[in-house]
Structure formats: C-alpha cells, structure tokens
Amino acid sequence: MERLNQKTKMTASIIACIALVVLLVLSYTNTGTTSMLRSVLQLGSIYALAAASMNLLNGFTGLFSLGHAGFMAIGAYTYAVLTIPVNKKANVYYLYGVADSLANVALPNWLGLIIGGIAAAIIAALIGAAVLRLKSDYFAIATLGLAEIVRICVASSPMARITNGSLGLKNIPGFTNIGFIPAYFVPFIVVAICLVIMFLLINCSYGRAFKAIREDEIAAEAMGINLARHKQMSFIISSFFAGIAGALLAMFLGAIQSTTFPLMLTYNILLIVVIGGMGSLSGSIISAFLVIAAKEWWLRFLDVEQYIGDWQVPLLRTGFRMVVFSVILMVVVLFWRQGIMGQKEFSWDGVYNFFRRLKTKFRGKNTKAAAEGGNANE
C-alpha cells in the first residue's frame, strides 16, 4: 500500500469537488432531455442519506434494524403536516377537515425538515429504551413491527384530521431557492451537510465506540463503553437522519401516503447498504446513486418489448426489469459479499492503489516480477 502525500490528496479533493459541482451545474442548466438525470440525482441523494443513516446503525453499530421505513414515514409526515400552506389545507384535507390546532400552522420548510428529523429521533428514543435490549434477530423483528405500527397508525381514522388518514397528503412544499442557490441544489446541500456530520461522527471517539460495539459487545463493555447508552445514541442519530431523509422524500414527491413507506422501502435501502458495503458510508453513497440509476433509468428498457428487425427479443416485457434487478442483487449478495467498498471508506490512497493494481495486471507476466520487486521496496 503506497501512500500519497497530503498535498496531492488535497489537490485531488479540490479537483474532484470542482468536477462534481460542474457536473451538477451542467445537469441543471441543460433542461429538457436531462430531467431524468436530474431526478435520478435528487432521488439518489435522498436514498444515499437514508442508506447512510441505516448503515450507521446496521453497519457501524452492528444493530440489525428493519424499522427504517417507519422513521422515514415519521419524518415525512411531520414535515408535511407542519408545512402545507394554510390556504391549501382545505384542499388537502378535503374529506375529513383539518385539526383545529393545525389549521393555521405552516412552518418554513427548513424548520419543518429539522422538526421532522427530531420527531423521528424522539420516537426512536422512546422506543429504543425498550427494544434495544433485544438480541440481533429479535431486535430486527421488533423494529420491523414498529415500522408496520407506524404505517398503519398514520393511515388510521383517529389520525385522519392530522395525517389525512388513508388519503395521504399532497401540496407538500418542495425545495425552494435559498438566497441565490436554485431549488434544484437544495437536496444535495442538505444531504451533503448530513453526510459530512455522519463522516465526522464515525471518525470521532463516539464513532469508534460504535464500531467497538459492532466488533465485540463484550469486549466493548469491558472497555468501559456503556452499551445501552451508546446503542441508544446510535439508534437516535440514525433515526434522526432517517427522518430527514423521509422529509426530503416528501419534498421530492410532493405527495405522500402511508403506502409510500412499506416494508419494501426498508428492504430496498438495506440492499443499497449491502451493495455499498456494510460499514462504509462512502460505499452507501456510491451504491445509492448506482442502484437508483440502474433501477429507475438504465434498466428501464428491459420492460419494453424490443424488436430487431422482425425478430422480437425474447423475455423483454413488463416486469422483466425487476427480475433482472433482483438477480443482480442476489449475485452481489452471494459472490461479492463485501459490496463495493467493504468496510473501507473512500480515500485517494485507495483509488491510487486500485489503479496501480490494474496497471500491474495489464502489464502481464513479463513485468510481474519487476512489479513485485518494486512492492518489496516499499
């Protein structure tokens, strides 16, 4: 493993950032045919946040939770209920009417976003005390039950005047310009801020404590780490970001329903986490974009019957895309267990060494010995 010096890394980082930004701007200014790209990027970033927050719990703290959709639902509904403009409430709650206490409430969307996250965190704090004592599989099923409870309660009739019951909410304010920053970039900025916080978290002392719990609970406890408190913390933080991701999803969709947050959503996010690598935030981010782009965009052609001349390409018809997608997932799970990144985070050293290895491979057998000699010197 060869290391690059600090200056090279810095330059590389700056260049990468600028490249990223330029790409984003290009995707923005080019209207018309790139709108698909734009929505995939936005949705991808939201899923990246959701996956990263799940990874914090599943990959970093070793708590196998299946309740993510529930916390996203809490965030999304809290955001939606608090921010729907007052003059549109009558239109939204057209059947049941709106609860009196909410009739004149319309918070600015940034505040709603934060409250959405906090609401999810509060529920997590309440529930966590009870379910975090459970061992792995039991914890998974308890959180799964939790998500189902949230989903059903949100759509139930006693909640109708708040959540509009089964009818769902619409006219949810979307992304708006922040000063000179156009609305299109808002999700990226919010997600970037959240991800930076998460990166800071996993690299600080508390983050290390989480990893210690994942590696060996008993040893972690023997090192003076309070298991209950740290698990609770991880659960709350993960739920907070899940709530934010849910609220962003509500902003992106503009309309939500309890069925927007089924168990399948949790599974989808889990699969993103697995493909990216359990225990790698950068892996989750990369795989979120890849999976969303593949599922929503690149593989779409599989759903449409195609003809080459008169010959109909076999198998291609409605539903085939999802079959191919799930087969790809299985292949990843079975043969590429580490996912894209394993437990490593993105680093320039990693990229550099990856390309070096590639180069060595391509050079073929003749130079292999020489390359090995070079390695030995390191």
Partner: protein, 414 residues
C-alpha cells in the same frame, strides 16, 4: 484538520458555483415556461404512465392495452401538411409513488409531449407536479380521486370522480330500497377509503344507516373475522370499494360465511378476474358498457378491441385470460383519443412547432364522442360525466366471462 479543510473547500465551491449558475438557471427555466417540450422531427412521442407491476399492475396493463390499440388505429396525424407518426413511450410506475416521480421524469426526458395515465390516483397525484413543471399535459384514465386534477392545469381525466361515484352508489342503494349498509375499506388506500367515505356521507344524507364500518390491511387475505362482525349487524347491503385482488378474496368468504346482503362496489371491480359463482349478484358502477348499443363508437371499439386482444395470446393473459373489454381499456383508448383530437385540432393553426403547451391548450377545448360517452373537460380538467353504468354478475356471466349491464344511474335519478 484535513476533514475540516475539506468541508470548507466543499462549501466554498458550492457557493461559488451557486453564484455562477444563478442567472443561467433562470434563463433555462424561462425557456421551459414558454413552450414546454417541442416535437422534434416527424415523430410525436406520447407517454404511457401506468403501473404494470405492483399492486395495481393488472388494471394498469389493461389500460395500456387500450392505449396501444388506439395507437394502432390512429398511429399518424397530419398537421399543417406534415404527417407525424405517433409513438407510445410506455413506462411502469410500479403502483409506487417514489417510482412514479422518476417514471414521470423518464417520460419527460424522452421528450413526450403528452402523457396518458394512470390507473390509481396515488401515482397520478405524485407525478402531477412533474408533468406540470415540465408543462406537459397528462390525461388520466381511471384515476378517480379529485386531487389529481385539482390545482393542476396540466392534468385532465377521462373518467368520473370518486365523490360522484360514491354518491351514485348510495343513490343506487337507496333506490333499490336498502336502508342499512356496511362499509369495508382498505387502510392506507386513498381510492378505497375516499370512495367509502363519500358513500357513507351520501347514504346517511339520503336516510340510510351505516351499521358497520371496518377496514383491512394491504395484502390482507383473511376476511372471516370482519365478515362475521358484519353478519352480526345484518345489513341490507355491503359497500366494498377495493382492488381486484381483494374482491376475488372477499367474495368467496362472504359465501362461506353465509352473507346474503347485496354487495356493492366501485369501478375497479370490472375485471373478468372476479367473475365466479360467489360473485353472482354483486353490483358496481363503471364507466362503460360493451353491450351498450346506443353508442356507435363503443360498438365499433368493442369489436375491434376484441380482435386486437385475440391477435396475441400475451394480450389475453394481460386481460385476465378473457377477451372481455374492461372499462379501463376503454378509458385508455379514450384518453389516447383525447390527445389525438387535440393534435388534430392543431391542424390549421399557425403553429410552427408542435409543443406540449399548445397540446394542453387544445385539450381544454376538445370535444368528441368517446367510447365511454361524449367527452369534454370542465374547468378542473375533468371529463363532464353525469351517468355511471351499473353492472352485475349473473349466472350467464359465468359462461360468457362478461358482466351484465343493469342500468345507468345518475345522481339526479332519485
């Protein structure tokens, strides 16, 4: 230190580019405002935005068939001396809202100038904003929720609405002499819950009593306990707006539980999949009747469409293994025809390029005889309809695999 500086650089760069693109961004937005999406070359792309997988995959596919058939018949249009080919771009919204938005964007990025669909209101509501922002008109087929078109100038629809349908069924129940009703609806489903509420309100207003109001979960398949509690109340009729899947589950269980009450339902039940011994006697409202002789357009459509279905075994599979014409197929056809007539209306205008905004403006004034009756749109973009077709399943239906038309019902009949 490294991380902090990285973060700073990131923020700095973000703000710098945000400055830079402020103006250019506005420019492009302004462009979009004027014309939406324009047709390039001589091919007009029309998007088909339907669920072909997921909960509503079955019904969605039948609508796609209707649209495909219409496209087969009316595949070209002549506007100001140029002949344009009309091509359908189909996309699956998976009966899922999150997928619906990207699916809608997929269509926009393919450059469609109009969209047909969807089956199920939830996905239509979710995608409505995308179509509106892209200035592309959409014509809903069987999305009956009022929210679809409300406040969206680019969404039209070819069918009637839930408040109308719920009221119609309440009227029907009262005219048939029923005074007590039980209502079964699906938790989390806007169609089922909305329709049930409209029915309840109207039924009570007309002097009936709702004696039981129960709900079930998505994908639930055991209804014995629910039906037992309904049976205890002994209602005259049971209103059960639900998906086809639920219908096929709940009907046999009603028989098994010995429930004699009249079963009423909404438009979704018009699907050959529900026809069975247990379904005999149910009544539901729908948009269209294939045996309606009074409508020549419909008669022609029915013959042609049956032929189309039988031309390919896969079509029959998609149509629940029969060649009965589903109402949603007729709506798919009508939605296509609405766009087609709007395109025709552009002929003779001094338009240089065909664009989505012009099509939208033309749609506002479209008026034609469709398969499901005369179609023109009101200020919300909803087709003006005043009657629903009540259909039932009889012993004959079992052999013919088709529904029997009972009568038309309108709100004013009482």
């Amino acid at each position: 230190m490294k991380k902090i500086s990285l973060l700073l650089v990131l923020l700095l760069v973000f703000s710098v580019f945000a400055f830079g693109c402020g103006e250019s961004g506005d420019d492009s937005a302004a462009n979009a405002d004027a014309t939406g999406i324009s047709v390039e070359g001589t091919t007009i792309h029309i998007g088909v935005f339907e669920p072909t997988t997921g909960e509503n995959g079955g019904g969605g596919m039948q609508e796609v068939l209707g649209a495909r058939y219409a496209n087969q018949l009316y595949g070209t249009v002549e506007i100001n001396g140029t002949t344009y080919d009309i091509v359908l771009d189909e996309v699956d919204n998976q009966s899922d809202k999150a997928a619906a938005v990207t699916a809608a964007n997929q269509l926009i990025s393919k450059g469609v100038v109009a969209v047909l669909g969807s089956y199920g209101s939830g996905v239509s509501i979710a995608a409505g904003e995308t179509f509106m922002n892209a200035q592309v008109p959409a014509v809903g087929c069987s999305c009956t929720n009022p929210q679809v078109t409300l406040g969206n100038d680019f969404y039209f629809r070819a069918c009637f609405l839930d408040p109308f349908q719920g009221t119609v069924m309440a009227n029907y129940a009262i005219t048939e002499g029923y005074t007590t009703a039980a209502v079964i609806s699906q938790n989390g489903d806007d169609y089922s819950t909305g329709l049930a509420t409209y029915f309840k309100n109207a039924f009570q207003e007309l002097g009936g009593t709702v004696v039981a109001d129960v709900t079930y979960q998505t994908n639930e398949s055991d209804f014995n306990a629910l039906l037992t509690s309904i049976k205890a109340e002994n209602p005259d009729c049971i209103f059960c707006p639900s998906s086809i899947v639920t219908a096929t589950l709940i009907l046999p269980q009603m028989t098994a539980n010995g429930i004699q009450a009249q079963v009423l339902a909404g438009d979704t039940w018009e699907n050959a999949a529900i026809i069975s011994n247990d379904a005999v006697g149910v009544a539901f409202s729908t948009f269209f009747d294939e045996t309606d002789e009074s409508n020549a357009v419909a008669a022609e459509f029915v013959n042609g469409f049956k032929e189309y279905l039988n031309s390919n075994p896969q079509n029959i599979t998609w149509n629940a293994n029969t060649d009965t014409v589903a109402a949603v197929s007729a709506l798919g056809y009508d939605a296509y025809m609405a766009v087609y007539h709007a395109l025709e209306a552009l002929n003779g205008t001094d338009i240089e390029t065909i664009n989505s905004v012009a099509i939208r403006d033309a749609l506002v004034n479209v008026s034609f005889d469709g398969v499901t009756g005369a179609i023109s749109f009101d200020e919300n973009g909803d087709a003006i309809k005043d009657t629903a077709y009540i259909k039932t399943v009889t012993e004959d239906s079992l052999a013919t695999q088709s529904f029997q038309f009972v009568r038309t019902q309108s709100v004013a009949d009482l």
